[in-house]
Subunit: 218 residues, 2 copies
DNA sequence: TGAATGCTAACTGTTGACAATTAACCGTGT
DNA sequence: ACACGGTTAATTGTCAACAGTTAGCATTCA
């Protein structure tokens, strides 16, 4: 059965990814191959491929002989993800400054405004999406495909983590100060590498502090 | 057939990875599922899983309906890998300084000496292995599993790239100056974050220059 | 002679079935 | 009442076969 022209398992993986990030499949949900096979009207083969892809993306965990479930990540996972993202994005802004075009900068400004508007309007999950789009733009501007792919993986994990954490301790329902994003954008626009790196570091320093603050009174 | 206790596809993936990095399977070699299945005495299922893993690691490319082959990466791929490694390792040294134990530092010194000895003795592929082990130690010291996994991927790709590039233009058969590694180790030992970051940056700046220099007269 | 077209072989994508293992449940004994 | 052993159900790992597609080759026509 051809759901599309792309690979069947790819279509299924996209659907599942969407369901996970939407919160439709909560963390810990078991992903039973046979069930998914009948749900999507295909055999278990493509399902296995899709689940393997999700596991590699960090959105699912695959215990041998015990099946795969939606990843249920904890505070230390979130800390790990943020640490890697900080390192990656500090490099990304450096590269972005060297390679950005005028169209890139315009797109960045658009996404910056969209992010601020989304945080102002709520609800949170939608704001996160805009937030990620802003972070993504300068990773794309870096002109490095591998870096962008890694960012996308980490961004997915971030959204999943935030969502599951939000349902457990509502104290994570905070909105970052709008300045941090604007500082990054300003520095990139000014081609000031040091300031851009500092802005990214400050962003993650703030996030880390906030995370440490909410993790304690759990 | 149980080759080991771990998953069958995992064993096969390890074997193939080894063969690729050893140069036993040169870049561009087609990895035909049926052939590998008969070679390893298993069915095509586990082979598919192993090949998917290699593709995910960047050691193979998988064109839909056209099969998978050993990745044949070019200079721009090497540049991409180095850019991401620089970003990752700049973060890694920062984290490593904050978390290193005495045993870690001793191990780092041991690997530093081993690397210098290996470059002094040649041959190159063996030296690369020692080189990677040195870079790996401070990524491990960073205490971030995700970062370490990403480094391992990039390190594999680096070795594959160097090896294939070496067979094509022998001008890549250069050995980095020993100081760059020692500068990194010294800065980490001194808990000097700025110096460590600068040392990593200098290392990759040198590599990049050397790469640009050899790529031109191709 | 050159290009286009139809055939053929090889390979992957997908499927359904079988084997192996895990986890849960029930019963028994102490 | 609790711990332990055996049995069963559920689920994954593996396999062999079928179907569909791609690439290469020969053939044909201009």
């Amino acid at each position: 059965m051809q759901l599309d022209h792309k690979q069947v398992w790819e279509t299924i993986a996209d659907r599942l990814r969407e369901d996970i990030l939407d919160g439709h499949l909560p963390a810990g949900t078991r992903l039973v191959e046979a069930d998914l096979a009948s749900r999507f009207g295909v055999s278990r083969g493509p399902i296995r491929d899709a689940l393997a892809d999700l596991s590699r993306s960090g959105l699912a965990v695959d215990l041998p002989r015990r099946g795969t479930s939606v990843a249920s990540l904890r505070e230390d996972d979130l800390a790990e993800v943020y640490e890697v993202r900080r390192a990656l994005e500090e490099g990304a802004v450096r590269m972005a400054i060297a390679r950005a075009t005028a169209e890139d900068l315009a797109e960045m400004d658009r996404l910056l405004n969209a992010t601020e508007a989304a945080y102002h309007a709520g609800p949170l999950p939608a704001a996160w999406e805009a937030d990620m789009a802003f972070h993504r733009i300068y990773c794309r501007m870096a002109g490095n495909g591998r870096l962008l792919a890694l960012f996308d993986n980490l961004a997915s994990q971030t959204v999943l983590l935030m969502r599951t954490a939000l349902t457990e301790h509502a104290s994570l329902a905070w909105t970052p100060p709008v300045e941090v994003h604007r500082h990054i954008a300003d520095a990139i626009r000014a081609c000031d590498v040091d300031a851009a790196v500092r802005a990214v570091a400050a962003h993650y320093q703030y996030t880390e502090d906030r995370l440490a603050g909410t993790a304690k009174p759990e």
